[in-house]
Protein backbone atom coordinates (compact mmCIF):
# COMPACT_ATOMS: atom_id res chain seq x y z
CA UNK A 1 0.00 0.00 0.00
CA UNK A 2 1.34 3.43 -0.94
CA UNK A 3 2.07 5.79 1.98
CA UNK A 4 -0.16 8.82 1.38
CA UNK A 5 -0.67 11.70 3.79
CA UNK A 6 -2.42 10.90 7.06
CA UNK A 7 -6.12 11.75 6.96
CA UNK A 8 -7.86 13.75 9.65
CA UNK A 9 -11.57 14.48 10.03
CA UNK A 10 -12.40 17.83 11.64
CA UNK A 11 -15.93 17.94 13.12
CA UNK A 12 -17.34 21.30 14.26
CA UNK A 13 -20.57 23.21 13.61
CA UNK A 14 -18.73 26.54 13.57
CA UNK A 15 -17.36 27.14 10.04
CA UNK A 16 -14.49 29.32 11.31
CA UNK A 17 -13.41 26.63 13.76
CA UNK A 18 -13.46 23.97 11.01
CA UNK A 19 -11.55 26.20 8.65
CA UNK A 20 -8.92 27.04 11.28
CA UNK A 21 -8.07 23.46 12.19
CA UNK A 22 -8.28 22.28 8.58
CA UNK A 23 -5.80 25.00 7.47
CA UNK A 24 -3.37 24.23 10.28
CA UNK A 25 -3.45 20.53 9.40
CA UNK A 26 -3.24 21.01 5.62
CA UNK A 27 -0.31 23.42 6.05
CA UNK A 28 1.45 20.62 7.87
CA UNK A 29 0.91 17.92 5.28
CA UNK A 30 -2.26 16.23 6.45
CA UNK A 31 -5.23 15.38 4.24
CA UNK A 32 -8.34 16.89 5.84
CA UNK A 33 -12.06 16.29 5.51
CA UNK A 34 -14.63 18.28 7.47
CA UNK A 35 -18.11 17.69 8.88
CA UNK A 36 -20.44 20.26 10.39
CA UNK A 37 -22.41 17.93 12.61
CA UNK A 38 -22.26 14.51 14.19
CA UNK A 39 -24.41 12.73 11.62
CA UNK A 40 -22.29 13.97 8.74
CA UNK A 41 -19.17 12.90 10.65
CA UNK A 42 -20.44 9.34 11.10
CA UNK A 43 -21.41 9.17 7.41
CA UNK A 44 -17.91 10.29 6.31
CA UNK A 45 -16.20 7.84 8.66
CA UNK A 46 -18.36 5.01 7.29
CA UNK A 47 -17.17 5.93 3.77
CA UNK A 48 -13.49 6.30 4.64
CA UNK A 49 -11.85 5.68 8.01
CA UNK A 50 -9.59 8.62 8.95
CA UNK A 51 -6.35 8.34 10.93
CA UNK A 52 -7.60 10.84 13.53
CA UNK A 53 -10.75 12.79 14.41
CA UNK A 54 -10.82 16.31 15.91
CA UNK A 55 -14.24 16.45 17.52
CA UNK A 56 -16.32 19.35 18.89
CA UNK A 57 -18.84 18.46 21.62
CA UNK A 58 -21.81 20.81 21.32
CA UNK A 59 -23.29 20.38 17.86
CA UNK A 60 -26.74 19.99 16.33
CA UNK A 61 -28.09 16.72 14.88
CA UNK A 62 -25.75 14.42 16.77
CA UNK A 63 -23.52 15.74 19.55
CA UNK A 64 -19.82 15.03 19.88
CA UNK A 65 -20.62 12.78 22.85
CA UNK A 66 -22.85 10.60 20.66
CA UNK A 67 -20.21 10.44 17.91
CA UNK A 68 -17.54 9.54 20.44
CA UNK A 69 -19.62 6.70 21.91
CA UNK A 70 -20.52 5.44 18.45
CA UNK A 71 -16.85 5.25 17.43
CA UNK A 72 -15.51 3.80 20.66
CA UNK A 73 -18.18 1.09 20.78
CA UNK A 74 -17.41 -0.05 17.23
CA UNK A 75 -14.70 -2.73 17.07
CA UNK A 76 -13.67 -1.56 13.61
CA UNK A 77 -13.44 2.14 14.54
CA UNK A 78 -12.53 2.26 18.20
CA UNK A 79 -8.79 2.52 17.52
CA UNK A 80 -9.16 5.88 15.72
CA UNK A 81 -7.54 8.48 18.00
CA UNK A 82 -9.92 11.29 18.94
CA UNK A 83 -9.01 14.79 20.09
CA UNK A 84 -11.88 16.58 21.81
CA UNK A 85 -11.95 20.28 20.89
CA UNK A 86 -14.44 22.29 22.92
CA UNK A 87 -15.08 25.79 24.22
CA UNK A 88 -16.54 25.24 27.65
CA UNK A 89 -15.02 23.08 30.32
CA UNK A 90 -18.54 22.12 31.48
CA UNK A 91 -19.02 20.42 28.12
CA UNK A 92 -16.00 18.31 28.76
CA UNK A 93 -17.14 17.47 32.28
CA UNK A 94 -20.53 16.32 31.01
CA UNK A 95 -18.73 14.44 28.28
CA UNK A 96 -16.60 12.63 30.85
CA UNK A 97 -19.58 11.83 33.08
CA UNK A 98 -21.51 10.41 30.14
CA UNK A 99 -18.56 8.34 28.97
CA UNK A 100 -19.34 5.15 30.87
CA UNK A 101 -17.75 1.94 29.63
CA UNK A 102 -15.78 3.66 26.92
CA UNK A 103 -12.11 4.64 27.18
CA UNK A 104 -11.01 8.26 27.72
CA UNK A 105 -10.27 10.38 24.67
CA UNK A 106 -6.74 10.31 23.33
CA UNK A 107 -6.53 14.12 23.50
CA UNK A 108 -8.39 17.20 24.74
CA UNK A 109 -7.81 20.83 23.79
CA UNK A 110 -9.90 23.85 24.69
CA UNK A 111 -10.97 26.75 22.50
CA UNK A 112 -9.53 29.13 21.55
CA UNK A 113 -7.15 26.55 20.14
CA UNK A 114 -3.41 27.01 20.46
CA UNK A 115 -2.51 25.61 17.03
CA UNK A 116 1.08 24.70 17.99
CA UNK A 117 -0.17 22.70 20.95
CA UNK A 118 -2.82 21.10 18.74
CA UNK A 119 -0.21 20.07 16.15
CA UNK A 120 2.05 18.62 18.83
CA UNK A 121 -0.86 16.54 20.07
CA UNK A 122 -1.71 15.33 16.54
CA UNK A 123 1.89 14.40 15.79
CA UNK A 124 2.15 12.46 19.03
CA UNK A 125 -0.94 10.45 18.13
CA UNK A 126 -0.24 9.85 14.43
CA UNK A 127 3.45 10.23 13.80
Amino acid sequence: MADGPKTILVVDDDPDARDFLAAVLQDNGYAVTTANDGEQAIALIEQSVPDLVALDITMPEKSGVAVYRRLKEDERLKSIPIIIVTGVSDDFKSFISSRRQVPPPEGYISKPVDHEKFLTMVRALIA
Partner: protein, 484 residues
Protein backbone atom coordinates in the same frame (compact mmCIF):
# COMPACT_ATOMS: atom_id res chain seq x y z
CA UNK B 1 -105.85 14.22 80.17
CA UNK B 2 -106.17 10.48 79.62
CA UNK B 3 -103.50 8.31 81.15
CA UNK B 4 -100.47 7.44 78.99
CA UNK B 5 -101.10 4.72 76.39
CA UNK B 6 -98.21 2.60 77.67
CA UNK B 7 -95.27 2.83 80.08
CA UNK B 8 -92.90 2.80 77.09
CA UNK B 9 -94.62 5.90 75.74
CA UNK B 10 -93.79 7.83 78.86
CA UNK B 11 -90.16 6.77 79.06
CA UNK B 12 -89.31 7.20 75.34
CA UNK B 13 -86.09 9.27 74.89
CA UNK B 14 -87.76 11.81 72.59
CA UNK B 15 -90.68 14.22 72.65
CA UNK B 16 -93.80 12.08 72.06
CA UNK B 17 -97.27 13.54 71.70
CA UNK B 18 -100.64 12.30 70.52
CA UNK B 19 -102.54 15.05 68.73
CA UNK B 20 -106.22 15.29 67.70
CA UNK B 21 -107.73 16.83 64.57
CA UNK B 22 -107.88 20.24 66.25
CA UNK B 23 -104.11 19.96 66.77
CA UNK B 24 -104.61 19.74 70.48
CA UNK B 25 -102.22 17.53 72.43
CA UNK B 26 -104.16 14.74 74.06
CA UNK B 27 -101.16 12.79 75.37
CA UNK B 28 -97.56 13.83 75.99
CA UNK B 29 -94.72 11.78 77.43
CA UNK B 30 -92.57 12.75 80.35
CA UNK B 31 -89.75 14.26 78.37
CA UNK B 32 -92.19 16.50 76.51
CA UNK B 33 -93.83 17.64 79.74
CA UNK B 34 -90.40 18.38 81.27
CA UNK B 35 -89.41 20.35 78.22
CA UNK B 36 -92.59 22.16 77.30
CA UNK B 37 -94.93 21.90 80.36
CA UNK B 38 -98.28 20.20 80.85
CA UNK B 39 -100.23 20.45 77.62
CA UNK B 40 -103.71 20.35 79.20
CA UNK B 41 -105.41 20.17 75.81
CA UNK B 42 -103.41 23.08 74.35
CA UNK B 43 -102.41 23.20 70.70
CA UNK B 44 -99.08 21.69 69.65
CA UNK B 45 -97.98 24.91 67.92
CA UNK B 46 -98.54 26.90 71.14
CA UNK B 47 -96.31 24.62 73.18
CA UNK B 48 -93.68 23.83 70.60
CA UNK B 49 -93.31 27.24 69.06
CA UNK B 50 -95.24 29.74 71.13
CA UNK B 51 -97.43 30.49 68.10
CA UNK B 52 -101.06 31.56 68.22
CA UNK B 53 -101.82 29.92 64.86
CA UNK B 54 -100.89 26.60 63.34
CA UNK B 55 -97.66 26.27 61.39
CA UNK B 56 -97.63 26.82 57.60
CA UNK B 57 -96.37 23.32 57.00
CA UNK B 58 -97.85 20.92 59.53
CA UNK B 59 -96.90 17.23 59.26
CA UNK B 60 -99.65 16.32 61.75
CA UNK B 61 -102.32 17.88 59.59
CA UNK B 62 -100.90 16.14 56.53
CA UNK B 63 -100.93 12.80 58.32
CA UNK B 64 -104.61 13.35 59.13
CA UNK B 65 -105.17 14.25 55.49
CA UNK B 66 -103.55 11.31 53.72
CA UNK B 67 -102.90 8.76 56.45
CA UNK B 68 -99.19 8.66 55.60
CA UNK B 69 -96.24 9.39 57.83
CA UNK B 70 -94.70 12.85 57.39
CA UNK B 71 -91.39 14.09 58.50
CA UNK B 72 -89.87 17.53 58.86
CA UNK B 73 -87.06 19.38 60.57
CA UNK B 74 -87.50 22.51 62.60
CA UNK B 75 -86.63 24.40 65.71
CA UNK B 76 -88.74 24.52 68.87
CA UNK B 77 -88.35 26.49 72.10
CA UNK B 78 -88.39 24.78 75.46
CA UNK B 79 -89.72 26.19 78.72
CA UNK B 80 -86.19 27.01 79.84
CA UNK B 81 -85.85 29.21 76.75
CA UNK B 82 -83.49 26.84 74.96
CA UNK B 83 -83.84 26.65 71.21
CA UNK B 84 -83.79 23.00 70.15
CA UNK B 85 -83.48 21.47 66.67
CA UNK B 86 -85.88 18.55 66.21
CA UNK B 87 -86.60 15.95 63.58
CA UNK B 88 -90.38 15.27 63.76
CA UNK B 89 -92.29 12.34 62.35
CA UNK B 90 -96.09 12.33 62.45
CA UNK B 91 -97.90 9.00 62.02
CA UNK B 92 -101.66 8.46 61.89
CA UNK B 93 -103.33 6.32 64.59
CA UNK B 94 -106.38 4.36 63.46
CA UNK B 95 -109.28 2.66 65.28
CA UNK B 96 -110.56 -0.83 64.61
CA UNK B 97 -112.48 0.48 61.58
CA UNK B 98 -109.35 1.95 60.09
CA UNK B 99 -110.45 5.52 60.68
CA UNK B 100 -107.79 7.98 61.74
CA UNK B 101 -108.47 9.05 65.29
CA UNK B 102 -105.28 10.85 66.17
CA UNK B 103 -101.69 11.40 65.06
CA UNK B 104 -98.66 10.45 67.10
CA UNK B 105 -95.77 12.86 66.69
CA UNK B 106 -92.25 11.86 67.62
CA UNK B 107 -89.75 14.76 67.81
CA UNK B 108 -86.11 13.78 68.27
CA UNK B 109 -83.63 16.33 69.58
CA UNK B 110 -80.98 16.68 66.87
CA UNK B 111 -79.43 19.90 68.18
CA UNK B 112 -76.01 18.31 68.65
CA UNK B 113 -76.10 16.78 65.19
CA UNK B 114 -77.14 20.10 63.64
CA UNK B 115 -74.37 21.89 65.53
CA UNK B 116 -71.83 19.38 64.21
CA UNK B 117 -73.20 19.76 60.69
CA UNK B 118 -72.99 23.50 61.02
CA UNK B 119 -69.40 23.30 62.29
CA UNK B 120 -68.54 21.00 59.40
CA UNK B 121 -70.06 23.43 56.89
CA UNK B 122 -68.15 26.31 58.47
CA UNK B 123 -64.92 24.29 58.31
CA UNK B 124 -65.58 23.42 54.69
CA UNK B 125 -66.28 27.09 53.91
CA UNK B 126 -63.10 28.13 55.70
CA UNK B 127 -61.11 25.46 53.87
CA UNK B 128 -62.60 26.53 50.53
CA UNK B 129 -61.97 30.19 51.35
CA UNK B 130 -58.38 29.43 52.28
CA UNK B 131 -57.94 27.23 49.19
CA UNK B 132 -59.40 29.95 46.97
CA UNK B 133 -57.89 33.03 48.52
CA UNK B 134 -54.36 31.83 49.25
CA UNK B 135 -52.13 34.02 47.06
CA UNK B 136 -50.67 31.22 44.97
CA UNK B 137 -51.84 28.74 42.35
CA UNK B 138 -53.02 25.42 43.76
CA UNK B 139 -54.16 22.39 41.83
CA UNK B 140 -54.66 18.77 42.75
CA UNK B 141 -53.75 16.13 40.18
CA UNK B 142 -54.56 12.44 39.84
CA UNK B 143 -51.90 9.87 38.84
CA UNK B 144 -52.63 10.57 35.14
CA UNK B 145 -51.90 14.27 35.77
CA UNK B 146 -55.55 15.32 35.34
CA UNK B 147 -56.46 18.38 37.37
CA UNK B 148 -59.12 17.34 39.90
CA UNK B 149 -59.38 20.62 41.78
CA UNK B 150 -57.97 24.10 41.32
CA UNK B 151 -58.25 27.20 43.44
CA UNK B 152 -59.66 30.53 42.24
CA UNK B 153 -56.23 32.06 41.58
CA UNK B 154 -55.29 29.08 39.41
CA UNK B 155 -58.53 29.22 37.41
CA UNK B 156 -58.22 32.98 36.94
CA UNK B 157 -54.67 32.62 35.63
CA UNK B 158 -54.90 29.37 33.66
CA UNK B 159 -58.62 28.93 32.96
CA UNK B 160 -61.25 26.48 34.13
CA UNK B 161 -59.19 23.47 33.31
CA UNK B 162 -60.62 20.84 35.61
CA UNK B 163 -60.15 17.48 33.94
CA UNK B 164 -57.38 18.60 31.63
CA UNK B 165 -53.71 17.72 32.08
CA UNK B 166 -51.59 19.97 34.28
CA UNK B 167 -48.89 20.41 31.63
CA UNK B 168 -51.53 21.62 29.15
CA UNK B 169 -52.81 24.23 31.59
CA UNK B 170 -49.49 25.39 32.98
CA UNK B 171 -47.22 25.17 29.97
CA UNK B 172 -49.39 24.58 26.92
CA UNK B 173 -47.39 21.44 26.31
CA UNK B 174 -48.66 18.32 24.58
CA UNK B 175 -46.69 15.91 26.73
CA UNK B 176 -45.61 15.78 30.39
CA UNK B 177 -42.70 17.90 31.59
CA UNK B 178 -39.40 16.14 32.14
CA UNK B 179 -38.75 15.79 34.99
CA UNK B 180 -42.26 16.06 36.47
CA UNK B 181 -42.35 16.88 40.21
CA UNK B 182 -45.96 15.65 40.48
CA UNK B 183 -45.07 12.22 39.09
CA UNK B 184 -41.99 12.08 41.34
CA UNK B 185 -44.17 12.79 44.39
CA UNK B 186 -46.61 10.08 43.28
CA UNK B 187 -43.69 7.67 43.07
CA UNK B 188 -42.03 8.26 46.45
CA UNK B 189 -44.42 10.44 48.48
CA UNK B 190 -41.71 13.05 48.99
CA UNK B 191 -42.15 16.82 48.72
CA UNK B 192 -40.58 18.40 45.67
CA UNK B 193 -39.64 22.04 45.08
CA UNK B 194 -38.66 23.35 41.68
CA UNK B 195 -38.59 26.60 39.77
CA UNK B 196 -40.51 26.68 36.48
CA UNK B 197 -41.62 29.13 33.82
CA UNK B 198 -45.35 28.91 33.13
CA UNK B 199 -47.67 30.78 30.78
CA UNK B 200 -51.03 32.20 31.84
CA UNK B 201 -54.20 32.37 29.72
CA UNK B 202 -53.35 35.88 28.56
CA UNK B 203 -49.88 34.79 27.47
CA UNK B 204 -48.05 36.30 30.46
CA UNK B 205 -44.99 34.35 31.47
CA UNK B 206 -44.34 33.80 35.13
CA UNK B 207 -41.48 32.42 37.12
CA UNK B 208 -43.04 30.19 39.73
CA UNK B 209 -41.68 28.21 42.63
CA UNK B 210 -43.52 24.89 42.49
CA UNK B 211 -43.97 22.68 45.56
CA UNK B 212 -45.67 19.31 45.35
CA UNK B 213 -47.06 17.32 48.28
CA UNK B 214 -48.86 13.95 48.46
CA UNK B 215 -52.53 13.63 49.44
CA UNK B 216 -53.20 10.28 51.08
CA UNK B 217 -56.40 8.36 51.82
CA UNK B 218 -57.17 6.68 55.16
CA UNK B 219 -55.10 3.67 54.13
CA UNK B 220 -52.08 5.89 53.53
CA UNK B 221 -52.20 5.45 49.76
CA UNK B 222 -51.41 8.49 47.62
CA UNK B 223 -54.58 9.36 45.75
CA UNK B 224 -53.57 12.79 44.56
CA UNK B 225 -50.72 15.27 44.54
CA UNK B 226 -51.16 18.92 45.41
CA UNK B 227 -49.14 21.31 43.28
CA UNK B 228 -48.68 24.76 44.76
CA UNK B 229 -46.99 27.45 42.67
CA UNK B 230 -45.93 30.81 44.05
CA UNK B 231 -45.41 33.59 41.52
CA UNK B 232 -41.82 34.75 42.00
CA UNK B 233 -41.63 36.77 38.79
CA UNK B 234 -41.05 39.98 40.68
CA UNK B 235 -38.51 38.35 42.94
CA UNK B 236 -36.66 37.21 39.86
CA UNK B 237 -36.92 40.67 38.36
CA UNK B 238 -35.48 42.18 41.52
CA UNK B 239 -32.70 39.67 41.88
CA UNK B 240 -29.31 41.17 42.38
CA UNK B 241 -27.63 42.25 39.19
CA UNK B 242 -24.52 40.39 40.25
CA UNK B 243 -26.34 37.09 40.30
CA UNK B 244 -27.77 37.76 36.87
CA UNK B 245 -24.38 38.76 35.59
CA UNK B 246 -22.98 35.51 36.92
CA UNK B 247 -25.57 33.61 34.89
CA UNK B 248 -24.86 35.85 31.95
CA UNK B 249 -21.15 35.11 32.04
CA UNK B 250 -21.85 31.39 32.19
CA UNK B 251 -24.34 31.51 29.35
CA UNK B 252 -22.15 33.50 26.96
CA UNK B 253 -18.79 31.90 27.70
CA UNK B 254 -19.24 29.16 25.13
CA UNK B 255 -20.11 31.62 22.40
CA UNK B 256 -17.24 33.92 23.32
CA UNK B 257 -14.69 31.13 23.25
CA UNK B 258 -15.97 30.09 19.83
CA UNK B 259 -15.50 33.63 18.55
CA UNK B 260 -12.03 33.87 20.07
CA UNK B 261 -11.27 30.60 18.31
CA UNK B 262 -12.48 32.19 15.06
CA UNK B 263 -10.17 35.13 15.70
CA UNK B 264 -7.27 32.76 16.35
CA UNK B 265 -8.03 31.06 13.04
CA UNK B 266 -8.12 34.38 11.18
CA UNK B 267 -4.84 35.46 12.74
CA UNK B 268 -3.30 32.16 11.76
CA UNK B 269 -4.28 32.71 8.10
CA UNK B 270 -2.95 36.30 8.18
CA UNK B 271 0.29 35.11 9.74
CA UNK B 272 0.80 32.34 7.18
CA UNK B 273 -0.22 34.72 4.36
CA UNK B 274 2.44 37.25 5.39
CA UNK B 275 5.12 34.60 5.77
CA UNK B 276 4.38 33.04 2.39
CA UNK B 277 3.62 36.38 0.73
CA UNK B 278 0.23 34.87 -0.12
CA UNK B 279 -2.14 37.84 -0.53
CA UNK B 280 -5.24 35.68 -0.96
CA UNK B 281 -4.50 33.85 2.27
CA UNK B 282 -3.91 37.12 4.12
CA UNK B 283 -7.19 38.54 2.82
CA UNK B 284 -9.06 35.39 3.79
CA UNK B 285 -7.60 35.56 7.30
CA UNK B 286 -8.36 39.27 7.60
CA UNK B 287 -11.98 38.65 6.56
CA UNK B 288 -12.22 35.99 9.26
CA UNK B 289 -10.79 38.41 11.83
CA UNK B 290 -13.27 41.13 10.80
CA UNK B 291 -16.17 38.72 10.91
CA UNK B 292 -15.35 37.49 14.39
CA UNK B 293 -14.68 40.97 15.67
CA UNK B 294 -18.18 41.85 14.41
CA UNK B 295 -19.62 38.80 16.17
CA UNK B 296 -17.88 39.76 19.40
CA UNK B 297 -19.13 43.34 19.04
CA UNK B 298 -22.65 42.05 18.57
CA UNK B 299 -22.43 39.85 21.62
CA UNK B 300 -20.82 42.57 23.74
CA UNK B 301 -23.57 44.89 22.61
CA UNK B 302 -26.16 42.34 23.75
CA UNK B 303 -24.38 41.96 27.07
CA UNK B 304 -24.27 45.72 27.56
CA UNK B 305 -27.96 46.05 26.83
CA UNK B 306 -28.61 43.41 29.38
CA UNK B 307 -26.06 44.53 31.95
CA UNK B 308 -26.68 48.25 32.23
CA UNK B 309 -29.05 51.04 31.42
CA UNK B 310 -28.19 52.70 28.18
CA UNK B 311 -29.64 55.91 26.81
CA UNK B 312 -30.35 55.42 23.09
CA UNK B 313 -28.37 57.51 20.65
CA UNK B 314 -31.29 58.69 18.56
CA UNK B 315 -30.62 59.53 14.94
CA UNK B 316 -32.44 59.44 11.65
CA UNK B 317 -31.69 56.18 9.84
CA UNK B 318 -32.39 54.89 6.35
CA UNK B 319 -34.49 51.78 6.91
CA UNK B 320 -33.18 50.17 3.72
CA UNK B 321 -29.54 50.91 4.60
CA UNK B 322 -29.95 49.24 8.00
CA UNK B 323 -31.30 46.10 6.29
CA UNK B 324 -28.49 46.20 3.70
CA UNK B 325 -25.86 46.46 6.44
CA UNK B 326 -27.32 43.55 8.38
CA UNK B 327 -27.64 41.34 5.28
CA UNK B 328 -24.08 42.25 4.27
CA UNK B 329 -22.80 41.12 7.64
CA UNK B 330 -24.76 37.89 7.64
CA UNK B 331 -24.15 36.96 3.99
CA UNK B 332 -20.90 35.11 4.71
CA UNK B 333 -22.50 32.93 7.30
CA UNK B 334 -25.54 32.14 5.17
CA UNK B 335 -23.28 31.23 2.25
CA UNK B 336 -21.13 29.02 4.43
CA UNK B 337 -24.22 27.20 5.70
CA UNK B 338 -25.59 26.83 2.17
CA UNK B 339 -28.57 29.01 3.05
CA UNK B 340 -29.96 31.39 0.46
CA UNK B 341 -30.26 34.85 2.03
CA UNK B 342 -32.75 36.96 0.06
CA UNK B 343 -33.45 40.66 0.45
CA UNK B 344 -36.83 42.11 -0.51
CA UNK B 345 -36.47 45.74 0.48
CA UNK B 346 -38.87 48.56 -0.27
CA UNK B 347 -36.51 51.26 -1.64
CA UNK B 348 -39.02 53.93 -0.67
CA UNK B 349 -39.29 52.76 2.94
CA UNK B 350 -37.68 56.04 3.99
CA UNK B 351 -36.16 56.99 7.30
CA UNK B 352 -36.99 56.47 10.94
CA UNK B 353 -35.65 57.63 14.26
CA UNK B 354 -33.71 54.97 16.14
CA UNK B 355 -30.50 53.98 17.85
CA UNK B 356 -28.48 52.59 14.93
CA UNK B 357 -26.44 50.13 16.97
CA UNK B 358 -29.50 48.86 18.79
CA UNK B 359 -31.61 48.27 15.67
CA UNK B 360 -28.62 46.67 14.02
CA UNK B 361 -28.28 44.25 16.97
CA UNK B 362 -32.00 43.56 16.90
CA UNK B 363 -31.98 42.48 13.26
CA UNK B 364 -28.67 40.60 13.46
CA UNK B 365 -30.07 38.56 16.34
CA UNK B 366 -33.17 37.69 14.30
CA UNK B 367 -31.18 36.70 11.19
CA UNK B 368 -28.75 34.69 13.35
CA UNK B 369 -31.74 32.93 14.90
CA UNK B 370 -33.10 32.11 11.45
CA UNK B 371 -29.76 30.78 10.25
CA UNK B 372 -29.51 28.60 13.36
CA UNK B 373 -33.05 27.35 12.66
CA UNK B 374 -31.94 26.34 9.15
CA UNK B 375 -28.83 24.68 10.49
CA UNK B 376 -30.92 22.62 12.92
CA UNK B 377 -33.48 21.58 10.29
CA UNK B 378 -33.78 17.99 9.11
CA UNK B 379 -33.23 18.81 5.43
CA UNK B 380 -29.73 18.93 4.05
CA UNK B 381 -30.40 21.75 1.61
CA UNK B 382 -33.06 24.08 0.28
CA UNK B 383 -32.97 26.50 3.19
CA UNK B 384 -33.85 30.15 2.71
CA UNK B 385 -33.82 33.20 4.92
CA UNK B 386 -35.68 36.23 3.60
CA UNK B 387 -35.30 39.76 4.96
CA UNK B 388 -38.14 42.07 3.96
CA UNK B 389 -38.66 45.77 4.51
CA UNK B 390 -41.84 47.72 3.97
CA UNK B 391 -42.48 51.39 4.74
CA UNK B 392 -45.80 52.58 6.18
CA UNK B 393 -46.90 56.13 6.97
CA UNK B 394 -46.27 55.88 10.70
CA UNK B 395 -43.91 52.95 10.99
CA UNK B 396 -41.49 50.72 9.17
CA UNK B 397 -41.76 46.96 9.14
CA UNK B 398 -38.94 44.45 8.92
CA UNK B 399 -39.61 40.77 8.46
CA UNK B 400 -37.13 37.93 8.87
CA UNK B 401 -38.49 34.61 7.63
CA UNK B 402 -36.90 31.18 7.38
CA UNK B 403 -37.95 27.67 6.41
CA UNK B 404 -35.85 26.07 9.15
CA UNK B 405 -36.69 23.78 12.03
CA UNK B 406 -39.54 25.95 13.44
CA UNK B 407 -40.69 26.17 17.05
CA UNK B 408 -43.20 24.21 19.07
CA UNK B 409 -45.63 26.09 21.29
CA UNK B 410 -43.44 26.00 24.38
CA UNK B 411 -40.44 27.33 22.47
CA UNK B 412 -42.56 30.07 20.86
CA UNK B 413 -43.86 31.19 24.22
CA UNK B 414 -40.42 31.26 25.80
CA UNK B 415 -38.55 32.53 22.75
CA UNK B 416 -38.10 36.03 24.18
CA UNK B 417 -37.28 34.85 27.73
CA UNK B 418 -33.91 35.61 29.22
CA UNK B 419 -31.44 32.71 29.10
CA UNK B 420 -33.92 30.49 27.26
CA UNK B 421 -32.41 28.75 24.25
CA UNK B 422 -33.55 25.68 22.37
CA UNK B 423 -30.11 25.43 20.75
CA UNK B 424 -27.19 23.69 22.36
CA UNK B 425 -24.93 26.64 21.70
CA UNK B 426 -27.38 29.48 22.33
CA UNK B 427 -26.84 32.04 25.06
CA UNK B 428 -30.52 32.83 25.59
CA UNK B 429 -29.73 36.51 25.17
CA UNK B 430 -30.35 37.32 21.50
CA UNK B 431 -34.14 37.29 21.19
CA UNK B 432 -34.56 38.67 24.72
CA UNK B 433 -32.40 41.65 23.76
CA UNK B 434 -34.15 42.06 20.38
CA UNK B 435 -37.51 42.24 22.07
CA UNK B 436 -36.21 44.72 24.63
CA UNK B 437 -34.76 46.93 21.90
CA UNK B 438 -38.03 46.88 19.94
CA UNK B 439 -39.94 47.91 23.06
CA UNK B 440 -37.42 50.63 23.86
CA UNK B 441 -38.16 52.07 20.42
CA UNK B 442 -41.91 51.92 21.03
CA UNK B 443 -42.17 49.00 18.64
CA UNK B 444 -43.07 45.33 18.71
CA UNK B 445 -41.82 41.95 17.54
CA UNK B 446 -44.35 39.32 16.56
CA UNK B 447 -43.46 35.70 16.11
CA UNK B 448 -45.16 33.16 13.89
CA UNK B 449 -43.67 29.68 13.80
CA UNK B 450 -44.59 26.06 13.16
CA UNK B 451 -42.35 23.03 13.74
CA UNK B 452 -40.99 21.74 10.45
CA UNK B 453 -42.35 24.71 8.50
CA UNK B 454 -40.34 27.70 9.64
CA UNK B 455 -40.41 30.95 11.55
CA UNK B 456 -41.33 34.53 10.71
CA UNK B 457 -40.46 37.52 12.87
CA UNK B 458 -42.30 40.77 12.16
CA UNK B 459 -40.70 43.89 13.64
CA UNK B 460 -42.68 47.14 13.66
CA UNK B 461 -40.80 50.30 14.61
CA UNK B 462 -42.43 53.75 14.69
CA UNK B 463 -40.93 56.40 12.44
CA UNK B 464 -40.67 58.84 15.30
CA UNK B 465 -39.01 58.21 18.63
CA UNK B 466 -41.45 57.59 21.46
CA UNK B 467 -42.49 60.67 23.42
CA UNK B 468 -40.65 61.23 26.66
CA UNK B 469 -43.12 60.66 29.48
CA UNK B 470 -43.44 63.20 32.27
CA UNK B 471 -42.23 61.87 35.61
CA UNK B 472 -45.66 60.73 36.79
CA UNK B 473 -44.27 57.26 37.28
CA UNK B 474 -41.25 56.93 39.48
CA UNK B 475 -39.56 54.69 36.91
CA UNK B 476 -39.48 55.79 33.29
CA UNK B 477 -40.84 53.25 30.82
CA UNK B 478 -38.64 51.33 28.45
CA UNK B 479 -39.73 53.60 25.65
CA UNK B 480 -37.45 56.21 27.11
CA UNK B 481 -34.33 54.29 27.90
CA UNK B 482 -32.99 50.93 27.02
CA UNK B 483 -32.71 49.32 30.39
CA UNK B 484 -30.42 46.52 31.26
Amino acid sequence: MDPCPSPYFDSAPCYLTVIDRDLRIVHANRRFREGFGDPQGRHCYQLYKGRSEKCEVCPVERAFWDGQSHRNEGRVTRLDGMDVAVLSEATALRDENGDITAVINMATDITQLKDLQSQLRRSQRRYRLLFDEVPCYISIQDPDLHILQANRAFQAAFGSCLGCKCYEAYKHRVEPCVPCPVQETFEDGELRTREEVVTSLDGKQMNVLVTTAPIRNEQGQITGVMEMSADITEVRALESRLTSLGLLVGSVSHGLKGMLNGLAGGMYHVDVGFKKNDKARTEKGWATVQRNVARIQSMVSDILYYAKDRVPMWESLSAAQVAEDVCGLMEWRAKDQGVELTKMLDPGAGEFEADAQAVHSLLVNLVENSLDACRLGAKKSGYEVTVRLQGYPDHIQYEVEDNGVGMDRETREKAFSLFFSSKGTGTGLGLFISNRIARAHGGTIELDSQPGVGTRFVVKLPRERPLRQEPKDSRPPETEEIHG
